[in-house]
Symmetry: C2
Subunit: 256 residues, 2 copies
DNA sequence: AGGCGCTTGTGAAGGGGTGCACAAATCGCG
DNA sequence: CGCGATTTGTGCACCCCTTCACAAGCGCCT
């Protein structure tokens, strides 16, 4: 309302950046808002209503307002949110005002795709180094970066200030790689290997497991199929689908 | 939870599967349990306690027991769970007793990695077809599959019974591809493009956005840094770091 | 056979997230 | 200058999920 705290001057003057530890669910949605906001900015929008932004981000508008209110947001009643200001706010809260350096370990099948992904740079990150353990891969150049041996990680980590480590090695090597990353001071890890990593407290790990996503979809697919197959027996609580309108879509019958 | 269904193996004809609609959080963890169980089975374990399995899956043991109880699980008090039986149960609930056919649309940078990923096959899926819109890509052979033009989707979908569609195209094309998938009867979509998809009710969409994961990590990184920077005592619990390199993060001071 | 230790399954309490509904605030306009 | 239209920010009720704690059940050992 009255006190405008600009992201450009987070540091000084007694006033703490006031990082209120946001609800985790909110944090997970902020990047989505940010992406939608960038789209809006590119298409010339100066302000946006919570309804409009919520729509663009695929969420409920009340949820969006509550999320933004958590970070002491600055909307104008009767008008909406200033797109540019909101972008700055969210980028500041997410710690994106500095371009974070990412180290990618494991330049195989998936690692190659990641290394060449331009979505990194455009969303606030910079791939600072590529590592692999396979000597035949060391020295290869990908998107202007040279693959180094993983043993060089300590030295490189000292040069570049690695903020986040990405693991794209086989699961059998993931824990060892995570240990190495932690050893050089990395406190945030994104893990693509399908395994559980054990890390000391203070280190954040997020996991991306493609097969898990597919299996979750498989469950719903299975459930949908069994619903259409059921002749409305017992009538327990399974008919709890929204609206009661029973899926006007085409359903593939799964052979049984 | 008085209705004890028979451990009736998935294959059993007759008994109606009567899928209990599990809590969504439980569904999301079942694949993790399944992976851990497969690991245990491979290492010769016949039974496992909730504590052991929870440990292997990286969750709380009470949570795991409640999850398993939801699917009318069959453990033996004083002993634990039969690994093989539990695998069958979970695979059945997840709808993995049939190998689901996956269609991958967009065989670019990321699509190539996905097409060559053997984690699909080993976790219950089969890539049935690859599609792209780029004529120069059509015809290319990847891992034994030939890339077809996306216009052939209807025909191929009729032949193979596509269960899940994976979108790995640029964001600008994702909505159109989703529409095409829905049009041919696909009701489950995994989307790698950074955008919100709009689909009719009854269609499930899951999204994997790498940048979002990194930005969430960035937030926590930012928060950790601001905590260590604060003179307010409190004694941070971050001292678990080995290298003593206590996140000497440069405080950003970038003006817009 | 009986007791004992171990493990499951679950009731209950507590916390967090979601969405509704509305008061407060702001702008444009007559 | 005030009024109505519009939109934000939030109190509140509800629901889901997590976690603790413990009784019930099971096998083994004596
Ligand atoms: N390819 C995909 O589409 C995909 C999708 C989801 C998950 N994954 C997972 O991502 C990981 C990588 O998959 P991939 O297909 O790229 O496998 P890959 O075998 O092609 O690549 C793995 C790379 O890691 C390197 N490596 C092995 N041990 C290492 C170590 N100790 N230190 C550094 N590098 C090491 C190997 O030399 C290799 O280059 C796997 O865990 C896989 O399950 C892959
Ligand atoms: N490369 C990565 O590591 C990575 C990581 C995360 C997310 N993503 C996202 O995944 C998507 C693909 O990334 P990429 O790096 O593979 O891009 P890419 O440009 O290399 O590949 C995109 C492919 O999609 C094809 N395509 C375009 N329009 C199509 C249409 N209408 N129908 C069918 N095919 C079409 C193109 O011909 C191309 O082959 C992008 O949305 C990207 O943001 C990529």
């Amino acid at each position: 309302m009255s006190q405008h705290r600009h992201p450009g001057a987070p540091g000084r003057a007694g006033a703490v950046p006031a990082l209120p530890d946001l609800p985790e669910a909110t944090v997970a949605r902020l990047p989505e808002y940010l992406r939608a906001l960038h789209n809006l900015a590119e298409t010339g929008h100066e302000t946006v209503s919570s309804e409009g932004l919520a729509n663009a981000a695929g969420v409920n508008s009340a949820k969006l307002r509550k999320d933004l209110s958590h970070l002491g947001s600055y909307g104008t009643r009767g008008v909406g949110y200033d797109v540019g200001l909101l972008i700055d706010q969210i980028e500041f809260v997410l710690g994106l005002t500095q371009r974070r350096a990412v180290a990618l370990v494991g330049v195989g099948n998936l690692g190659h795709a990641l290394a060449g992904y331009d979505g990194f740079a455009s969303r606030g990150f910079r791939i600072a180094a590529l590592f692999d353990a396979d000597p035949s891969r060391v020295g290869e150049e990908i998107s202007g970066l040279t693959v180094r041996h993983v043993d060089e990680l300590p030295r490189v980590a000292a040069e570049e200030s690695i903020s986040i480590g990405v693991i794209a090695t086989p699961a059998s090597a993931a824990q060892a790689v995570a240990d190495q990353l932690v050893a050089v001071g990395v406190t945030s890890i994104l893990n693509f290997a399908p395994c559980v990593l054990s890390v000391p407290e203070g280190v954040d790990v997020r996991k991306v497991d493609l097969a898990i996503e597919l299996q979750i979809l498989s469950f719903h697919e299975h459930r949908k199929a069994s619903l259409t197959a059921l002749p409305a027996s017992g009538g327990s609580a399974l008919t709890a689908l929204p609206g009661g309108l029973a899926a006007t879509d085409t359903q593939e019958a799964i052979g049984t």
